[in-house]
C-alpha cells in the first residue's frame, strides 16, 4: 500500500481531532460494509446475523448489505417463467420471459431474466403448506419428547423459539412469493385482456461438454424441464375491486 502521490512530506490538512472522529466513522462504515457478505446469503446465528440486523437501516438506506456471491457456489441452470392466458375473447396466448426476440436491449433482457430467476427462487425455497406442517410437527414431536423426559426448561424454550421462527419465516416467504406472482400475473392479464392465467416455471439445464461435442445445441428442448405450474388465477381473483 502506498501513500497518494507526492504528499507524504506535507502536514495533514485535517487536525488530529477531525482525523480521530473521521477514523471512527470510517471504521464503523467498513464494519457495516463487511457485515453484508458475512450475513448474506448465510451467516452465524449468534453473531453476524444479529449484527447485520442491527446494521440493516444503514444497509437499506445506502443500498449495501449484499452478499456479492456472483456465480457462486456454482453456475447453475437458467430459469424461465412461462404463461398461458385465455383472453376475454376466448383466444389462447402463450409466452415466456426472458425472451431474446422480444426483450431488447440486452440489459432489459437481463432484467426480465433476473425477474424469472427471482420467481423461481421464491417458488423453490418456499415449502408447500403440507411440507411446512410436517416440519412443524417434527419440532412438536421433539418438544413432546423433551417434556416427557424432563429436559431442562431452556431446551423446551429453544424448541418453542425454533417453531415460532419457522412460522414467521414461512409466513414471510409465502407472502413474498404470493405478492410477486400476483403482480406479474396482474400485469400480464391486463396487457392481454385475460380471463384466466396459468404461470409455469421451466428449468434449462447446462449441457455436458460431451453432448455439445456430439452436436447438441444449448437450446435443445431436451435440456428444458417439463413446465411446472406455480400459480393460476382468474380475473376476479386478481382484480377483486372489479368484481365487486
Amino acid at each position: 500500500m502506498h501513500a497518494p502521490e507526492n504528499h507524504r512530506d506535507q502536514p495533514f490538512a485535517w487536525g488530529p481531532l477531525t482525523r480521530g472522529i473521521v477514523s471512527l466513522v470510517i471504521a464503523f462504515y467498513l464494519a457495516v460494509v463487511l457485515l453484508g457478505p458475512l450475513a448474506n446469503p448465510i451467516g452465524s446465528e449468534a453473531l453476524t446475523i444479529p449484527l447485520s440486523r442491527a446494521a440493516s437501516p444503514v444497509h437499506q438506506t445506502l443500498y449495501l448489505g449484499h452478499g456479492y456471491r456472483f456465480f457462486g457456489p456454482d453456475p447453475g441452470p437458467g430459469h424461465l417463467l412461462a404463461y398461458r392466458i385465455e383472453t376475454t375473447a376466448g383466444e389462447l396466448i402463450e409466452g415466456q420471459f426472458p425472451d431474446r426476440g422480444q426483450h431488447w436491449p440486452r440489459l432489459l433482457y437481463h432484467r426480465w431474466f433476473m425477474l424469472s430467476e427471482t420467481v423461481y427462487d421464491h417458488f423453490a425455497f418456499t415449502p408447500t403448506p403440507e411440507a411446512f406442517q410436517e416440519s412443524l410437527q417434527e419440532v412438536q414431536r421433539e418438544m413432546d419428547v423433551a417434556r416427557s423426559e424432563g429436559a431442562p426448561r431452556e431446551v423446551v424454550e429453544q424448541l418453542e423459539l425454533r417453531q415460532w421462527n419457522m412460522r414467521r419465516d414461512y409466513d414471510l416467504s409465502s407472502r413474498r412469493f404470493d405478492v410477486l406472482i400476483r403482480g406479474i400475473a396482474g400485469y400480464l392479464m391486463q396487457k392481454h385482456d385475460g380471463q384466466t392465467i396459468q404461470l409455469f416455471c421451466l428449468e434449462r439445464l447446462i449441457p455436458l461438454p460431451v453432448d455439445v461435442r456430439a452436436g447438441s445445441e444449448l437450446n435443445d428442448p431436451r435440456y428444458l424441464s417439463v413446465p411446472q405450474e406455480i400459480a393460476e388465477f382468474t380475473r376476479s381473483e386478481l382484480f377483486s375491486e372489479e368484481s365487486q
Partner: protein, 326 residues
Amino acid sequence: MNGLFTMLCAYGRSWIDFWNHFWFEKRAADTLAVMRILVGSMLVYTHLVWTFELPVFFGQAGVLSTEYRGLFQWDPSYRWSHFEWFPSSAWLWGSHFAGLLVLLMFMLGWLTRVTGILSFLLVVSYANRATGAQFGLDQINAFLCLYLAMSDCGRAYSIDAWWRGQRGRGVVASTVMNNIATRLIQLHLCVVYLFAGLGKLQGAYWWNGEAIWGALASYEYQSIDMTWIADQMWLVNLLTLTAVTWEVTYPFLVWPRLTRPIVLLMAVAVHLGIGLFMGMLTFGLIMIYGNLAFIEPRFFRCCCGAVRTGQPLQRGDSGTEIGKAC
C-alpha cells in the same frame, strides 16, 4: 518490561502513522474525475434502458408490486423509492426524465456536488423500486456513485472546472476527501472480490475446473457462441482455476506494486470476458471502471496531456506506468 512497553508504543505509533497516511493525505482528482465520466455514462445508460419499459417495472400496475420489497424482513423497511410519492403517470415519466438529466449532469461534472448526491439517491431509489429485477450491476453502480458523490471528483475534467477556469478562479484539485473516496472504492472492491471468490470455493465446479463451462454454456446468458471450447476442456479448467485464484487473491495482491498490474490486467480480461461472452457488458464494464481506482491520478493527467499536445505518452513521463503509478 520498559523495553516491551516502548516497543509496543512504537508499533502502535507506526500503525497510527500508516492509518493517517493511508486515509488523510491529499489526492488529486484526476482518477476520480475519469471514473465520474465513465461511471456516470453507465448510470445514464442503465437508467435510460428503463425508459423502454418504465410503466412495466415502475408503474402502479406493473409487474413489481410496491408491497413486495418490504417483505424481506420483519423489521421496518427503509427501502424507499420516489416513484411512490405520487401515483400518477405524469410523475413517473417526469421524474424519470428529470432523473436522467441529473445523471447526465453528474457525468459531465455540472454542479457536481449537488448532482452527485442526487444521482446516488436516484440509483438507490430505482434499485429499491425494481427489487426482484436487479443484479450485481445495481450494487456496484450504487457504491461507486456513493463514493464519487462524496469526493471532489468535479474538480477536474468537468464543466464545473472549465467554468471556474473561465472565471479565473483557481481549482484546488487535491483534497483529503478524494483520498478517502478512493480508499473506500479500493477496499469495497476488495470485499466484493474476496466474498465472490470465497463463495465460489464452496462449489464443486470451481474446484474441478468446469465452472467456466457452466457459465459459457448457459443459453440464457450466452451472447457469443463459445461452445467450441467443449473440445478444449483443459482450457476451461485453466480459465476456471485462474479466475477463482485471481478473485480470492485480489484483496492481497492488488496492493503491492509488483503484482498490481497483473491483478488489474486480469480484472480487465475477466470482466471483458463476462461482458462479451455472457451478455453482461454493463456489469463487466462497471467492474473495470471500479478498478481504475487503483491507478494514480498522474497517469490520467499524463494521458490527457498527451492527448492535448498530440505527443505519445513517454515511459517515465509521469513516473506512472500503471504499476509504478501507485
